[in-house]
C-alpha cells in the first residue's frame, strides 16, 4: 500500500492507504477525525465537506491518494487553540442553525468557503443557491441561512483587520 503525507489541521501526518481509500475514510478511520461525517454514497449530501488547499471539497469524492501533499482542514481544525470558535461556528450556535448536528460539520465548512469566495457580499438568495450541495433534514435551512449572513461581516471584518 502506498504511503501518503499531508497536513491535516496544521499537523503533518502520513498514512498507508489503499488505492480505493477515500479521503473521508482516511480522516475518519485512520486519523480518528470523526467530526467529518458520511451521509450518502452519491456525493449529494455534503456532510463530508472539508477544505483541501483552501477550497471546500466533498471528501467522499476524493481519493486519499489525491490528497498527498495537500493541506486539509476539517471541522476539528476550525476553533482556535484556546477553544474560541470560528465566527461561522459561533453564528451557527447563536442562530440555532443546527439540531441533530450530523450535517453541521459539512455545512459549516461549506459555509466558510461560500463566505470566503464572495467578499463582495452575499444575498439571501445567493446563500441558498450556494448551499445546494449540502443537505439538512432538521432545520429547514432558515436558521443556517441566517447564521451565514451573520457570519459574513465578522469574517470579512477579521480579514480586513
Amino acid at each position: 500500500m502506498p504511503t501518503i503525507s499531508l497536513k491535516v489541521n496544521g499537523k503533518a501526518v502520513s498514512a498507508e492507504v489503499e488505492g480505493r481509500t477515500l479521503l473521508v475514510e482516511l480522516l475518519r478511520e485512520k486519523l480518528g477525525l470523526t467530526g467529518t461525517h458520511i451521509g450518502c454514497d452519491t456525493s449529494q449530501c455534503g456532510a463530508c465537506v472539508v477544505h483541501v488547499n483552501g477550497d471546500s471539497v466533498k471528501s467522499c469524492t476524493m481519493l486519499a491518494l489525491q490528497a498527498d501533499g495537500a493541506e486539509v482542514t476539517t471541522i476539528e481544525g476550525l476553533a482556535a487553540a484556546d477553544g474560541t470558535l470560528h465566527p461561522m461556528q459561533a453564528m451557527f450556535r447563536e442562530h440555532h442553525a443546527l439540531q441533530c448536528g450530523y450535517c453541521t460539520p459539512g455545512m459549516v465548512m461549506s459555509a466558510i468557503d461560500i463566505v470566503q469566495k464572495h467578499p463582495e457580499g452575499l444575498s439571501e438568495e445567493q446563500i441558498r443557491e450556494e448551499l445546494e450541495g449540502n443537505l439538512c433534514r432538521c432545520t429547514g435551512y432558515h436558521n443556517i441561512v441566517k447564521a451565514i449572513a451573520a457570519a459574513f461581516p465578522l469574517m470579512h471584518q477579521k480579514h480586513a483587520a
Partner: protein
C-alpha cells in the same frame, strides 16, 4: 446572569460538541478487535431463494463468518416483533406474518436482508458480500396498494389472503348514512398521500459487543433504547434484560425512522455473541433507502355531507394503507389510532365513519414518519374543506370558522373516540391570517399576474394528537407497550442536579430544554443541571422519543419527580429548622418557614440528606434522589393555522413558496428558539412532501428512487423563510400545560401548500392535485387547459 428558566431562548449546550466535530455518533465508535458486517440484500421485489452458495464469500480475504437466515433459525431466532395489534371489523386479529431477521425461503422487498458477511475490514466485508451466489426464482410482485388489494394480485405472504393485514373501522356508520341522506351538498374527493423516505442525515448504524461474562452491549441509532432492549432482548435474541445494555448516543435525526427495532441490530448483537468480537454495521445511504421504514402511502376516498348554510353534517372516509412487505414495529397503529381518530380535525362534524384496509405489498415496511397518521388526516380533511368551499361557493375562511369547535366547547368529545382538552382555532387562524397579510393577497396576485406568474394562497387549520396515552386505553386498542415516561432526578450532595430521562434527543435539544425546566423548578442555576439520556445502563425504563412526547410526557415525569424531591426536602427542612412540615414553603431554590425569615437552600438540604448527622433518620431515608413514572391521562392536542403563498411559473410549472406562516398552539413553551426551529424543520419536511418528495416503485416493486439522485430532498433554495408564531392554550391534564411541537410543522403544512397551488391554478379548472405537485404535473395541467383558457 441572563434568565435561563422556562420561556428563555437559551442557546443550546449540545452545540458546543457538534460544532467542534466532537459529536459522538454510533459510526464514530470503534472498539478493540472490532470487525465489520456487510448485509447482502435482495435486489428484487419478490423471489423464492432456491439456494445460497457462500463458499466463495467465506473464503475471501479477511472474512470471519457468513450467516444466513438458516443460521439464525438454528439458534432459535424467529422474527422481529410487531408492537401493536389491530382487530378487524369482525373482531378477529390482524394478519401478522413472520418477519424474519434474515430472509428465509423468500424475499419480499428490494432491500430485504438475506445474509451477513463479517470480516476484518469494512471493505473486505463488502467485497465478500458481493461474492455470495444466490439462486432466485423470481415471483410476480406488487407495489401499489390498489393493485395489491385487487382480486388475483400476487400474494406477498402466501398465508395472507388478499394481502389484507386488517380491515378496520371506527365511527357510527348509521348516523353518517342518515346525515348524508339529508345533506344539501355531498362533496367527494379522492386523494393519495404520497410515500416518503425519511432520510435522517445520519444513516443507521449498530455496534454489537459481548463480554466474557455474556453481557451484551448494543450501540445503535435509536430514538428509544429501552424499547429496543425489550423487543430485541425478550422477543428476538432471548437475552435477559440485566445482560443487555442499549446505548443510543448522539443520533443524527430520526423523524420516526429510528423508533423501530431493525434486523441489523439483532444481527450484530447475535454475531458479537457468536464471535466474541465487537461487530459494527453502518448503512450506506442506498441501504437506508431500501431498509429504513418509509412513511405515509395512503389512498383515500372522502365524502363530506354539508347543509344549506355550509355546516358539516357528516364525514365518510375509506382508506387503503400500505404496510409494505412486513409489519414494522408500530406500523398497524399509524393508519388507525393515529389517523382515523383525527378525522374530526378542528371541526364539530357530528358524525364520522372511517374504514381502513391495511395492505401488504412488495415494498419496504411503512411505519410512523414525522406526524404519523395525523399528516394524512390533516391533508385529507383540509383538502376536502377547500373543495367543499369551492363547490358550495362559501369562502374557505368563513367555511372553516362556521365549523370550528368553539373555544368554549372544550373539553370536546369527537365522534371518533378522542376527547380534545383545549384549543382556540379562531385565535390561531386570526393570528396566522394577520401575519401572512391574507387581506393583502389580491393585490399580490394581481402584481404577480403582471409579471406572468400565477400566485396562490392556501390555509390549513389543523389539529393533531401527541403523547399517545394513557397506557391502559392504548393497551385496550392493541398497543403492546406502555406509553408512560420516566425521570430520575438526582440532587447531589452539594446541590447540583443530574436528570436521567427516558426521552431521547436526536436533534430536539433536550439537554438544554430539560435542564431549563429542572433548573427553573428547583431554583438552581442552569449550569448546575445536567441531562443524561440514551443509555439503558444509566436511565430507568422509559419509552423514548416519538410522537412529540418528550416534554409533554417526559417533562411531566420530571415535574412529578421534582415534586417528590421538594416533598422530601420539606421534611428535612422542617427537621433542620425545627418547624412543622406544613409550615415549610419551597420557592426560588429555598425552603422557608412561612412567615419567618428562616430558610435553607436546596444545597443545604441535599448536604443534610447525604451527610445525615442532623437528620430525621428514623422516619426518612438518607439521600435526595427520586424517580417518577408519568402515564398521561390523555393525548395532548396541538393545533394551529398554516398559511402558504406560492408563485407558479406557467412556462416551467415550477412552484416557488414565497411565504410561509405557521401559527401553532403547542401549549407551554420552555425554549422558544428551539420550538421555532422544530416548527421550521417540520414545515420544511411538509413542503418537501407537498412539492418534491415521493418514493417511486415500479409496478412489480423495484425501488426507482433509491438515492439522493432520484429522491428529491428539500434543499436550501427550494424553501422559503418560515415565519413561526405560537399562540398558547394550556394542556389541561399535564402539569406543564405543554402539548408538543415536533410534528406540527409536518402536519399542518402539506395541505396549506397544496391549497395554495390549487388556488394559483384556479383559472385552469383544477380541483385537486396529488402530492408531490412537481413541475411536470403542474406544467401538464397548465398545458392541457391552456387552449380552453385561450378560447374563453
Amino acid at each position: 446572569m441572563a434568565f435561563e428558566g422556562i420561556g428563555a431562548s437559551v442557546k443550546r449546550r449540545e452545540d458546543g460538541r457538534f460544532l467542534a466535530g466532537r459529536g459522538h455518533y454510533v459510526d464514530d465508535m470503534n472498539r478493540p478487535g472490532q470487525v465489520y458486517a456487510a448485509i447482502r440484500r435482495s435486489d428484487r421485489p419478490h423471489a423464492r431463494i432456491k439456494s445460497i452458495d457462500s463458499s466463495a464469500a467465506a473464503a475471501a480475504p479477511g472474512v470471519i463468518a457468513v450467516y444466513t437466515g438458516a443460521d439464525m433459525a438454528a439458534d432459535g431466532i424467529g422474527g422481529l416483533p410487531c408492537g401493536w395489534q389491530i382487530h378487524n371489523k369482525d373482531g378477529s386479529p390482524m394478519a401478522e406474518p413472520m418477519h424474519p431477521v434474515l430472509a428465509t425461503g423468500k424475499v419480499r422487498h428490494v432491500g430485504d436482508p438475506i445474509a451477513v458477511v463479517i470480516a476484518e475490514t469494512k471493505a473486505q466485508a463488502k467485497d465478500a458480500a458481493e461474492l455470495l451466489v444466490i439462486d432466485f426464482e423470481d415471483l410476480p410482485g406488487v407495489a401499489d396498494i390498489r393493485a395489491a388489494s385487487a382480486p388475483g394480485a400476487p400474494l406477498v405472504h402466501d398465508e395472507v389472503a388478499g394481502n389484507v393485514c386488517y380491515d378496520w373501522h371506527i365511527g357510527d356508520k348509521g348516523a353518517v348514512d342518515a346525515a348524508f341522506a339529508r345533506a344539501k351538498h355531498v362533496v367527494k374527493l379522492d386523494l393519495v398521500n404520497n410515500r416518503l423516505i425519511p432520510n435522517a442525515m445520519e444513516p443507521r448504524a449498530a455496534l454489537g459487543e459481548c463480554d466474557v461474562s455474556g453481557h451484551y452491549t448494543l450501540s445503535t441509532t435509536s430514538q428509544n433504547p429501552h424499547v429496543i432492549r425489550l423487543l430485541m432482548g425478550a422477543f428476538v435474541l432471548h437475552i435477559p434484560e440485566h445482560k443487555l445494555r442499549i446505548i443510543a448516543p448522539d443520533v443524527g435525526g430520526g423523524f420516526g425512522s429510528k423508533i423501530y427495532h431493525y434486523a441489523e441490530e439483532a444481527i450484530v448483537t447475535w454475531a458479537a455473541g457468536k464471535l466474541r468480537r465487537p461487530v459494527k454495521w453502518t448503512a450506506e445511504r442506498s441501504e437506508s433507502f431500501m431498509s429504513d421504514a418509509h412513511g405515509r402511502d395512503h389512498v383515500s376516498h372522502a365524502e363530506m355531507a354539508v347543509d344549506e348554510e355550509g355546516h358539516f353534517l357528516a364525514l365518510r372516509v375509506s382508506t387503503l394503507a400500505n404496510m409494505g412487505a412486513y409489519l414494522s414495529t408500530f406500523a398497524p397503529s399509524v393508519p388507525t389510532y393515529l389517523y382515523a381518530t383525527l378525522l374530526a380535525g378542528v371541526y364539530k362534524t357530528p358524525a364520522i365513519y372511517a374504514e381502513v384496509k391495511a395492505i401488504f405489498t412488495n415494498t419496504v415496511p411503512v411505519d410512523a414518519y414525522r406526524g404519523a397518521g395525523r399528516p394524512e388526516a390533516a391533508f385529507l380533511l383540509e383538502r376536502l374543506v377547500d373543495v367543499v368551499a369551492q363547490e358550495t361557493g362559501i369562502d374557505r375562511v368563513e367555511l372553516r370558522r362556521k365549523n370550528f369547535i368553539p373555544a368554549d366547547a372544550y373539553p370536546y368529545q369527537t365522534p371518533v373516540a378522542l376527547q380534545y382538552d383545549s384549543g382556540n382555532h379562531e385565535m390561531t387562524l386570526a393570528e396566522a391570517l394577520k401575519a401572512a397579510d391574507y387581506a393583502g393577497f389580491p393585490a399580490r396576485r394581481a402584481e404577480a399576474a403582471r409579471r406572468g406568474k400565477l400566485r396562490g394562497i392556501g390555509i390549513s387549520t389543523y389539529l393533531e394528537a401527541c403523547g399517545i396515552a394513557p397506557s391502559h386505553v392504548a393497551g385496550a386498542l392493541g398497543a403492546r407497550a406502555g406509553l408512560y415516561e420516566v425521570a430520575n432526578i438526582r440532587v447531589h450532595p452539594t446541590g447540583s442536579v443530574t436528570v436521567f430521562t427516558g426521552a431521547h434527543s436526536h436533534g430536539q435539544g433536550h439537554e438544554t430544554t430539560f435542564a431549563q425546566l429542572v433548573a427553573d423548578q428547583l431554583g438552581v442555576p442552569f449550569d448546575q443541571v445536567d441531562v443524561v439520556h440514551g443509555d439503558t445502563g444509566e436511565i430507568p425504563f422509559g419509552m423514548g422519543t416519538y410522537g412529540s412526547r418528550s416534554l409533554a410526557v417526559g417533562g411531566s415525569a420530571m415535574v412529578k419527580a421534582m415534586d417528590k424531591i421538594i416533598a422530601k426536602g420539606k421534611r428535612i427542612a422542617a427537621h433542620l429548622m425545627e418547624a412543622s412540615v406544613e409550615d415549610i414553603e419551597f420557592k426560588d431554590g429555598a425552603f422557608r418557614v412561612a412567615g419567618t425569615d428562616k430558610a435553607k437552600a436546596l444545597a443545604e438540604i441535599s448536604l443534610a440528606a447525604y451527610v445525615p448527622h442532623n437528620y430525621p433518620i428514623e422516619e426518612l431515608e438518607p439521600g435526595l434522589e427520586e424517580t417518577a413514572f408519568y402515564d398521561p391521562k390523555n393525548f395532548t392536542y396541538p393545533g394551529g393555522c398554516h398559511v402558504c403563498e406560492v408563485e407558479i411559473d406557467p412556462e416551467t410549472g415550477v412552484t416557488k413558496v414565497v411565504n410561509f406562516v405557521a401559527v401553532d398552539d403547542v401549549g407551554r413553551v420552555i425554549n422558544p428558539m428551539i420550538v421555532e426551529g422544530q416548527v421550521q424543520g417540520g414545515v420544511a419536511q411538509g413542503i418537501g412532501q407537498a412539492l418534491l418528495e415521493g418514493a417511486a416503485y415500479d409496478a412489480n416493486g423495484q425501488l426507482l428512487s433509491g438515492s439522493f439522485m432520484d429522491y428529491t430532498m428539500p434543499r436550501a433554495d427550494n424553501l422559503p423563510n418560515i415565519t413561526v408564531g405560537t399562540e398558547i392554550t394550556l394542556c389541561t391534564h399535564n402539569p406543564l400545560g405543554s402539548k408538543g411541537c415536533g410534528e406540527v410543522g409536518a402536519i399542518g403544512s402539506p395541505p396549506a401548500v397544496i391549497n395554495a397551488v390549487v388556488d394559483a391554478l384556479k383559472d385552469y379548472g383544477v380541483r385537486h392535485i396529488d402530492m408531490p405537485a412537481t413541475p411536470e404535473k403542474i406544467w401538464s395541467i397548465i398545458a392541457a387547459n391552456r387552449p380552453k383558457m385561450a378560447a374563453e
